[in-house]
Symmetry: C2
Subunit: 290 residues, 2 copies
């Protein structure tokens, strides 16, 4: 029961109305018997500073941060984890006496979500679509998963070049290339890779007919296709890939693992979900999606 001791958590972003985090985190609260409540706060960029002054004095324990505030949150924090300092983005803020502590759990969420497919990554050639904040976190995860080569394909090629340089300079990745998502020989890059990752919003609800690639013919049995999108649960990219024999995965597990990691930071715990709870939560989140 919610009472005067109930602790408050939340997510800030703009928009946040489609965020699954409140349903997920409130499920965690119940599951792990935390007297807490987790809400979504739509914060305009102009109001971020006011929000990050107000939330701590109101006794908020912490906030998740989503677009467009991940960079500004990292900048505003008093203390940043090594990962935040490296990636320059934060998705988790913790309010403590001595200030705001910033963390990022996206890369951890990616690694944890890979699970049984982890062995595929060792020595793999990876083709990743997108060069934004999610791509940066995934690149960091990939650097820890021991891949052998990364190609970054982006609509804005210069952003891909920039991320490639970041991977080389900051993540000690040696074999990184950047191409345009419209590269005439994209099929060749697909064929070279065994892992395809979509970090763009192409195919996300409501424009579900989109995909990061136009031609799916080069995709086959050898491919592991990981789409970070979870709404819909099966994107067009995943659907076309699976039809051609690829193994596919959506972004729901990553969402859950990064969220649980945030909760563990706030609560100084090491909460884990057993497989039944994990599946129960996934059904709950699935029902939330359109």
């Amino acid at each position: 029961m919610l009472d005067s001791r109930t602790k408050i958590f939340g997510i800030i972003g703009d928009p946040v109305v489609h965020s699954l985090s409140p349903v997920m985190q409130n499920y965690f609260m119940k599951m792990f018997k935390i007297n807490g409540v987790y809400c979504a706060f739509r914060i305009h960029s102009n109001d971020l500073e006011t929000c990050l002054k107000g939330a701590p004095i109101m006794g908020f324990v912490g906030l998740n941060v989503t677009l467009p505030h991940k960079y500004a949150a990292a900048q505003t924090a008093t203390f940043s984890s090594p990962e935040v300092r490296l990636l320059q983005v934060a998705n988790t803020l913790q309010f403590k006496q001595d200030g705001i502590h910033a963390f990022t759990t996206d890369h951890y969420g990616f690694i944890a979500s890979v699970g049984e497919h982890r062995a595929r990554f060792s020595g793999a050639q990876v083709l990743m679509f997108g060069a934004g904040g999610s791509a940066r976190s995934v690149a960091f995860a990939l650097s820890q998963l021991g891949i052998s080569a990364l190609t970054i394909a982006n609509r804005n090629e210069s952003k891909a070049v920039e991320l490639a340089r970041f991977c080389q300079q900051n993540l000690a990745m040696t074999n990184v290339a950047a191409i345009s998502i419209n590269h005439p020989n994209l099929s060749h890059f697909i064929d070279q890779a065994t892992i395809l990752i979509n970090t763009t919003s192409l195919g996300m609800y409501p424009i579900i007919n989109e995909a990061p690639v136009a031609l799916f013919t080069s995709i086959g049995k050898k491919h592991f296709v990981y789409d970070l999108i979870y709404n819909p649960l099966m994107t067009r990219f995943m659907y076309e890939a699976e039809k051609r024999g690829a193994t596919v995965k959506n972004g729901l597990d990553m969402l859950i693992y990064q969220g649980l990691a945030s909760l563990n930071i706030w609560s100084y715990e090491d909460f884990r979900l057993d497989i039944n709870s994990f599946n129960e939560l996934k059904s709950l989140l699935y029902r939330e999606l359109k």
Copy 2:
């Protein structure tokens, strides 16, 4: 279920950890099928301004205000209801596009809680203990209930005089006197009155052995003794009065009515509790008390 559309409400004060409002308001949320959550925020006086800047931009619908912020909240608001302008205190803030709107529902809570005893007030002589913010709201309620005379007894007599003057000048009450709570002839004032009201914290948990009067012998069958305290539910004042045949009432009903009035302001509704729900809520609140 709490989700990304869940609206946030709360109470600010210092301390607030013993507030029953979260349990009560969350009961209302469930009862009236409002997708909302109500939490307690301990706000230091120095932080009130930051809080009242932060809460609206975070999408809070409104806040209840308790000690020590009732006066400052009224001052800070962009718009004040006529009652707030009159009493100079607010217990309910509503955040709207055009600013902060301040209301007070304490006087309404008192009047509504009187219920079946309302006829006793018409033409009655009332002795009220205390001269603080609650006393002022009760005095306003008494002015609307048609009492004939009010005596205000307070430890700090000059505050009683001040409130008496306020009643005469602002509430158009003609027959108002101020005395010290240690007046040697307090028994005379008790005997003159048919209604005794305690607005002080004397007798409140944890110092439950206290009472606004030292001698209870003048209290008898004719008296209606209303103690605004609800923790404990039966104060020493009430207990001694009831033993001598008086009708007694604690502050729990008033708490509920003022809270429901706040919710109705925030939601533009006219929610009411039927008698069963009212009693269910009272049991719930009773269980929260030590």
